[in-house]
Symmetry: C2
Subunit: 343 residues, 2 copies
């Protein structure tokens, strides 16, 4: 299966390392890497990843290639996120589907904002759209729902999916000031220079939107998620609560409203989604989700309540989530061909 990587930052490089280290066991060949500011490299015979990983700037021979022209069976979309518009990632993905490629992305913007269009394009091209990495690195969410929750309905979700705010409030519980914990997250590259996306809950709202729309058949936008800001006052509250044995955690919470009995099955589920600091006691399964760790709790009809946690992931775990999507696509019978093979 030939892969085109769009974007080659931390995640793209971690994926390239993984593909290179395990090349003997994996059915993939990277035939193109295209970046916005560091050039591009296209070779239908496959790139030498060890060589690519040593370069800062790609050689950029010939004219800048369009997504649709790339000699690949799957596009791996890893460009920089614009969480307000999901662009240009969404357009790249639509172009890839039109060219007969599968699409795997770690980019939450297009999935939160353009899911219906992307799914329609994937369906029209009989290709797959996968985005396991968008919500919580390689914490299994969509893989889990597909494999372990068939026919089950998820009616409520609680989750810790915002690493920056959970790190800040976890640090507060250990007596570390808000500003110091934030600075550490920025130094490690987890929080951005302008941290408002994280602190005001936009990052969490985008992830809650994906979870609601994909797992609960809702149709909401990030602006529909009620957000409370994580502030210095929240940090002080977290310190106080920790002294009494509790924890303040930044939770997303999504509740499906009961479907009306005679509701048409194609109507989206109505949900109530929120993000904000919540007090948890030690017997709450999300209490121990500390620092950079992430977790989701799914309340279901058939499977009861299931909690999944991922302990302190690194960028390698984001790349691995992308790899699991690619392996899934590679094992599907229709994956090895693209448009040229069809009538």
């Amino acid at each position: 299966v030939r892969l085109a990587l769009l974007g080659f930052g931390n995640v793209g490089r971690a994926l390239a390392r993984l593909l290179h280290d395990r090349s003997a066991a994996l059915p993939f060949r990277v035939t193109a890497i295209v970046t916005a500011r560091h050039g591009w490299w296209v070779d239908p015979r496959g790139l030498e990843l060890a060589q690519v990983l040593r370069l800062e700037e790609l050689p950029s021979r010939g004219p800048r290639p369009t997504v649709g022209s790339l000699p690949a069976d799957a596009l791996v979309e890893l460009t920089t996120l614009d969480p307000r518009t999901g662009q240009p990632a969404a357009d790249h993905m639509l172009e890839a589907f039109r060219a007969g490629m599968h699409v795997v992305t770690a980019n939450k913007g297009p999935i939160a904002l353009h899911l219906a269009d992307l799914r329609a394009a994937a369906f029209a091209s009989a290709r797959e759209l996968r985005f396991e990495a968008t919500v919580s690195d390689c914490l299994p969410v969509f893989d889990l729902a597909r494999a372990a929750l068939p026919h089950a309905e998820i009616h409520a979700i609680r989750g810790i999916v915002s690493s920056t705010t959970n790190h800040i409030l976890s640090s507060a519980a250990r007596g570390i000031a808000f500003a110091d914990a934030l600075a550490e997250a920025q130094r490690l590259g987890i929080a951005e220079a302008d941290p408002t996306n994280d602190l005001e809950g936009w990052d969490a709202a985008v992830k809650a939107t994906i979870l609601a729309n994909v797992l609960m058949d809702a149709d909401i936008r990030p602006a529909d998620v009620m957000r409370e800001t994580i502030s210095e006052a929240t940090g002080l509250e977290a310190m106080r609560v920790a002294r009494e044995g509790g924890r303040v955690r930044p939770l997303i919470e999504i509740h499906a409203r009961p479907r009306r009995t005679h509701a048409h099955h194609l109507e989206p589920t109505e949900v109530k989604a929120s993000f904000g600091p919540r007090h948890l006691d030690a017997l709450d399964p999300l209490y121990a989700v500390d620092g950079w760790s992430m977790a989701l709790e799914l309340d279901t009809d058939l499977a009861g309540r299931i909690v999944v946690q991922l302990h302190a992931p690194h960028v390698e775990q984001v790349a691995y989530a992308v790899l699991t999507d690619l392996l899934d696509i590679a094992s599907a019978p229709r994956s090895r061909s693209r448009r040229t093979d069809r009538p």
Copy 2:
């Protein structure tokens, strides 16, 4: 897909209710139910489950059918467990494979003790063997490994998979005496009249064996798992630890020894497996796994550390785990035929 149920106790009945309630959405027809002491019913056109569920004794027309003669594509093995021998369940399963059926079981004995033989028989017949329910009801373990951990190596596992002992130690933390908590577990049918299997860790050892052999390519037997008994003294210790904010939990722990560099790939992994009471602090992800709840923590190379928890499952969750196995088999292309369709 035609199903034959072997055993029709609590799990079998819960599965029949599930299949009946969702019959319109599910691709299954139950063509046989065979029990050891309550008769049998076989009808290739399919049994009326609502009617079957009202009966205590099945009509048992004609001679007692053998497993191999049942008109089914998949055998659902739910007979009573003999955890020391795994029999007669293992022989039933081998007979089913010889007759060209897939096999799904909730029966941990045969998987812990006869895995190699069962896998060989499944392979020889090109049929599937599935056992998601054997370790922890519908807590996703094998589904999770297949879907979310491809190419990842699991090098350590910690888990709470023994409901009776976790209930006893959780109750102790709330000040309830060992004998009272055990009596409650017996009254609810979770602990057996003779609770030594649970208290001496045999139940946990059988589950640890399955986890080690399936997820880590080990080749151990339940007797290889070091066991410490959960006793009244453990209950008193749990009370004391709880007063200081900790918890004593009954943990299985499995560690793979590092593989020798030049080890042949077909050699089993050497593991060290144990069961016993362990002290956990509140930031341990297994701390909050209280009462009847279950959890597994998997330490992997590619995916980091993943924890899965299932909150207080009932028998319906065991039946659902069996259903997920059946759905998986039904969606595989080769599932709809059996020996008669092959040359």
